[in-house]
């Protein structure tokens, strides 16, 4: 039985005394899984994930990252294990070229120059942005900047990757390009944590979700179960994606209430109509 790569034990954090942002969150995340953290605006999702790389320290409770208490490690040390990609790429892009941007994290981690060059070149190619290698990231379009920001964290190959609202502000095409990169990591054993209020995204990609509500962990369960629980979603102030709501509205016709994707829905309709064609 593998050890959890992230373990939260009664984690609480208060920005101001007596005003908890998150309270008594206990959860475990196993290596290689794709976990969603969902909840309404202000539920504490971002506060929670900032504890994973040490940007925030617990007011009480403990965060174990790869078996170590986060309090015994600096943010720089934790960043080796947990890569956190923020929503706004302009918060981190500063270099004179995309190549430099990718090299930055690797230099901070203490890699040798030839290893840095090797990894950066490989990542630029993998993301399909090699023609922008010598362009300042600040001059690229928004979708491209998101890709560069993601690349600059991916190149550090953190075992755990946390993405804060990865598809917000992106059109469907850029969003799937970004997600494709992330999902390919998942298949090679990395752990992925997606923080989002895009319910369709969580439904499609996350095996398991942590539902945050007003600072507390409301439910930690398989995505399918969460989305079939109307009462839970209502309490958390969430609305199931339109697809799921449509399926739910048709249960009297025999439509299963737990379809998560267009493909599943189509297949279900075929079934309803008698199996063939």
């Amino acid at each position: 039985m593998p050890e959890p790569v992230i373990r939260l034990e009664a984690l609480s954090h208060a920005y101001e005394p007596q005003v908890p942002a998150i309270e008594a969150v206990t959860a475990e995340i196993w290596p290689g899984s794709i976990v969603g953290i969902i909840g309404h605006n202000g539920a504490g999702k971002t506060t929670l994930v900032k504890h994973l790389n040490g940007l925030l320290r617990p007011t009480s409770g403990t965060v174990w990252v790869d078996g170590q208490d986060s309090r015994t490690r600096t943010t720089a040390e934790l960043a080796r294990k947990v890569g956190l990609v923020f929503q706004n790429p302009d918060d981190q892009l500063f270099a004179g070229s995309c190549r430099e941007e990718l090299a930055f994290g690797l230099r901070n981690l203490g890699f040798k120059p030839d290893e840095i060059v090797r990894r950066s070149e490989a990542m630029l190619e993998q993301m399909g942005i090699e023609r922008w290698a010598d362009t300042p990231p600040a001059m690229l379009g928004y979708g491209q900047r998101r890709l560069v920001a993601l690349a600059s964290i991916l190149v550090m190959r953190p075992p755990v990757l946390v993405l804060d609202e990865p598809t917000a502000g992106l059109d469907a095409r850029s969003a799937s390009a970004l997600l494709a990169q992330v999902l390919s990591l998942a298949s090679s054993g990395h752990t992925i944590i997606l923080v989002t209020h895009d319910m369709a995204l969580a439904a499609e990609h996350c095996q398991r979700c942590l539902v945050m509500c007003r600072g507390r962990l409301l439910r930690d369960d398989a995505t399918r179960s969460i989305f079939s629980d109307n009462a839970l979603l209502a309490e958390a102030g969430l609305m199931a994606p339109p697809l799921i709501r449509l399926a739910r509205a048709l249960t009297d016709l025999g439509m299963p209430g737990d379809v998560l994707t267009n493909a599943e829905f189509s297949a279900a309709v075929t079934q309803l109509r008698g199996g063939t064609q």
Partner: protein, 263 residues
């Protein structure tokens, strides 16, 4: 997110309602008075008067709290002045550069209290005057409108700037940037990625702000109106009159009789 850089606290006291221009002039003249004398009793009286004014405006607690932050600085000034200023008179202690005497001790205390009084004046002024009133008072006293607007905009962007710094340093720390260890030079170099990202963010903000101004008609052919024009009331004229008379009196006294250290 609290407005960290704005001291203003709304209220209805006589001081809050006083015209912002009169308050600005008062703060200026009071500072001049405090800084041009070194008399212990005068300084104590000034400090007492400031605290009295603060009390009558209901802001004594805030002023006192802010002054307490300065005690360390004040104590240091008192100490260094007392120990390192050679003055005529019997010396209690004389060792190389160190020269402690009754006179130098009194001077130290006076200078320290002067800092307190100065801070008190500025606090009483800014706590009872909103930022926009302050900028409007500057414009009312002759500062070109665009300068006043620039000042107001800069002040309004400070909380956003603090926010930006926090977000950017978080993002860079997430890429293993080490800010808290190493020699001074190393630490300064580590700030470069943050500084660059902040400059870029600020330039973008500035561009966006200027577009926003034009989009709301700033600089159009219309003549700008003033929604909250500053108006001097009779009480404001009275205060101004008393103030100018007191200042004139101070100047006369200072020039003719001087104000020695102990009065």
């Amino acid at each position: 997110m609290s407005a960290v850089f704005d001291l203003y606290q709304a209220g209805g006291s006589w001081l809050h309602r006083m015209d912002a221009r009169v308050k600005l002039v008062t703060a200026l003249l009071a500072s001049v008075v405090i800084l041009t004398q070194r008399n212990l009793w005068f300084t104590l009286a000034a400090l007492g008067l400031i605290l009295l004014v603060a009390a009558s405006a209901g802001i004594l607690a805030t002023v006192w709290r802010s002054l307490r932050l300065l005690w360390g600085v004040m104590a240091m000034i008192a100490l260094f002045t007392a120990l390192l200023t050679p003055l005529p008179g019997e010396a209690w202690l004389a060792l190389g550069p160190v020269h402690l005497s009754a006179a130098s001790l009194l001077l130290g205390v006076t200078l320290a209290l002067r800092i307190g009084a100065l801070a008190g004046v500025v606090l009483v002024w800014l706590i009872t005057t909103s930022q926009s009133a302050t900028t409007r008072s500057l414009v009312g006293l002759g500062l070109p409108y665009s300068w006043g607007m620039t000042l107001a905009m800069a002040l309004s962007q400070l909380p956003a700037l603090a926010d930006t710094y926090r977000r950017i340093s978080d993002a860079q720390k997430a890429r293993a940037l080490e800010l808290d260890r190493g020699a001074l030079l190393v630490r300064l170099r580590a700030l470069i990625p943050i500084a660059v990202a902040m400059v870029i963010a600020s330039l973008r903000s500035a561009e966006a702000l200027s577009r926003s101004l034009a989009s709301r008609g700033f600089g159009s052919h219309h003549r700008r109106s003033d929604w909250q024009p500053l108006c001097m009331r009779p009480s404001d004229w009275l205060v101004l009159g008393i103030l100018l008379a007191a200042f004139a009196g101070y100047l006369v006294w200072r020039c003719n009789w001087g104000l020695s250290l102990l009065g």
